[in-house]
């Protein structure tokens, strides 16, 4: 058995902590500008102050504060997208796998189509038509997520429905809906949990990419991807603007992936090929 990834736990725990308690952890506002303090470097660099530990951006906003609030955005978007996309994928996967036949064939072709669809383009299209915002972002990410969930869950259900307890449930007069959501659903929850954690990293990167491209949350709301984008022009003179949020993204995604790997090995060795 793989060892508990303590560093991952610590990083994920820290991220959740700062996201939840952001307003109490920092004296600064993530949005209000303070132009006299603009473009201060991190405290260990020459000219940096301990008031702004990781320096400030072009509007004099504290980078650390924006990082904390950005973690909020990432977590909320991730949670909503996983709930919506993962939930839809779970339900459709179970129905598709259990009912089978034409419905299954149809749903799986839709899944194939969803995989073939370029997510980023679609998100840009949505941002243009619906306007930028967290809701647009969540919808775009959900539409991308559900297909992967549906496909894996369906495969799992195909195996489970062959087992005798499903046949016996039918012999005992359970309705198809009851069999699907009372008897089969708890048996795929392990797989579902693993899929959730493995997709957290994907979503955070996707959210950052979309924000970077301008299809995500609109400024001045802090988002890690947006922060990387805003600092891009000053990369030679003020490296911390892009690099620090970039490092944050990398660390968090890596942690979630390690955590997901660990959970997968713990809960379901069969999924190791994923």
């Amino acid at each position: 058995m793989r060892r508990l990834p303590l560093a991952s736990f610590a990083i994920i725990g820290t991220m959740i902590f700062v996201a939840v308690f952001a307003p109490w952890l920092t004296p600064h506002s993530p949005i209000d500008q303070s132009l006299p303090d603009k473009l201060l470097p991190p405290f260990w660099e020459e000219g940096g102050t301990t008031e702004y530990l990781l320096g400030t951006d072009i509007f004099g906003r504290d980078l650390l504060t924006r990082l904390f609030y950005g973690a909020r955005v990432s977590l909320i978007v991730t949670a909503l997208a996983l709930t919506a996309g993962g939930g839809i994928g779970l339900v459709l996967g179970i129905v598709s796998g259990y009912v089978g036949g034409k419905l299954d064939a149809f749903l799986m072709r839709v899944v194939d189509a969803a995989f073939a669809f370029p997510t980023i383009l679609f998100a840009l299209l949505l941002a243009v038509t619906m306007g930028q915002g967290m809701d647009t972002l969540v919808i775009a990410l959900s539409l991308f997520l559900w297909a992967g969930f549906a496909r894996v869950i369906r495969g799992e259900v195909l195996a489970i429905k062959q087992r005798d307890f499903v046949a016996l449930a039918r012999v005992h007069g359970s309705s198809p809906a009851r069999i699907m959501f009372v008897h089969i659903l708890p048996n795929v929850l392990n797989t579902f949990m693993v899929l959730l954690t493995l997709n957290v990293g994907v979503i955070i990167v996707a959210e950052a990419s979309l924000s970077f491209l301008g299809a995500g949350v609109p400024p001045p709301t802090p988002s890690w991807g947006l922060m990387v984008a805003e600092g891009r022009g000053k990369i030679t003179s003020a490296w911390w603007l892009s690099l620090i949020p970039g490092i944050a993204i990398t660390l968090v995604v890596l942690s979630f992936n390690l955590f997901g790997d660990w959970l997968r090995d713990r809960l379901d060795p069969k999924l190791r090929q994923l």
């Binding site: 087992r163 005798d164 307890f165 449930a169 012999v171 005992h172 007069g173 708890p186 048996n187």
Partner: protein
């Protein structure tokens, strides 16, 4: 014993409609089961035993399988005419089933107790006892040791024999009129098999159920059954009281089956096998289906299927030689 039949199957035909043709897996099965009786349905793999059971419950495996003819009467009501909703009321409450493999018969994520509750909740017993008490009670009836602890345990904590007892407990929890047991002891340890058969027998007489006992094991039949129906290639070829069938088998297939059972008391050399294969169910011969493998085959056997003829008291066989 001489009461009216609780389950009557008449001329049941269940076919698979496949692209490559029609597979007549159950092709004119007729039998009846009385209350308090165990009817053994015997035959080799693929002869249609299990499909007959699934047809009775109307739980056919694929969209391709359909019961095209016949009737299934439960206390005189035709099950084939019922709506899906009415059918769900029948399943579990009036007809229960035990399957072969106890390892997969229980849902691994629920405790024994909650799986029993689900069945028990469908039938209030009017005594106001809690579901838990009733669950313990029904586990005691299937002679599971320490039932109070078992209700909180999960299937993986129980042995195969114990699990099969739980499956039995779920099956009897609604006091069904008919129980279908599809090779319930095949997956069990030999020492446990006997205990389980005794248990079924005991439950059957205390609940006055009819049991349709599906098996390929004549040893089990001798122990369990009151009557036997021998099935071959989708049809019942011989049926009669168990003693009659053993002492005086008429159909050559029945004789061959009994001859291939090892006997404990006598030293037998090699067991006798039946040469050849059963006919393909998609391309059945016009005459007797056993003709190809029968040592007594005659010209008329190949031409027409022999109708069942009575050869003794409630003993009949479908063979030209018997007529």
């Amino acid at each position: 014993m001489d009461s009216a039949p609780v389950l009557e199957v008449r001329n049941l035909h269940t076919h698979f409609f496949l692209r490559r043709g029609v597979v007549k897996a159950v092709d004119g099965v007729t039998f009846s089961l009385r209350r308090g009786e165990v009817l053994g349905l015997v035959g080799e793999s693929g002869c249609g035993k299990s499909l007959t059971a699934l047809s009775i419950l109307r739980l056919l495996p694929q969209a391709a399988a359909r019961t095209v003819e016949g009737s299934v009467l439960l206390d005189g009501e035709d099950l084939l005419a019922k709506s899906p909703r009415e059918m769900r009321e029948v399943r579990g409450r009036r007809i229960a089933m035990i399957l072969q493999d106890p390892q997969t018969s229980l849902n691994p994520v629920f405790s024994i107790g909650s799986q029993l509750h689900e069945a028990l909740a469908r039938r209030p017993d009017g005594t106001g006892r809690s579901l838990r008490e009733r669950a313990v009670d029904v586990l005691r009836r299937v002679r599971l040791a320490a039932p109070e602890q078992r209700v909180g345990q999960y299937p993986h904590e129980l042995s195969g024999g114990m699990k099969q007892r739980v499956v039995g407990a779920i099956a009897i929890s609604c006091a069904p009129e008919v129980m279908i047991a599809d090779e319930p002891t095949t997956a069990l340890d030999v020492t446990i098999q006997l205990q389980y058969l005794d248990l079924l027998k005991e439950l059957q007489s205390s609940l006055d159920m009819g049991i349709l006992f599906i098996t390929h094991d004549f040893g089990v039949v001798a122990r369990m059954c009151d009557r036997v129906a021998v099935m071959y290639a989708g049809r019942i070829v011989e049926t009669g009281p168990v003693r009659e069938i053993f002492d005086n088998p008429v159909h050559p297939y029945t004789r061959a089956l009994i001859a291939s059972v090892p006997k404990l008391r006598r030293k037998t050399g090699r067991l006798r096998a039946i040469e050849g294969q059963p006919p393909a169910l998609s391309d059945l011969p016009a005459g007797c289906r056993f003709a190809d493998r029968c040592p007594h085959v005659e010209a008329r056997c190949l031409e027409r299927y022999p109708e069942a003829v009575s050869v003794g008291e409630s003993h009949s066989a479908s063979c030209w030689l018997a007529a």
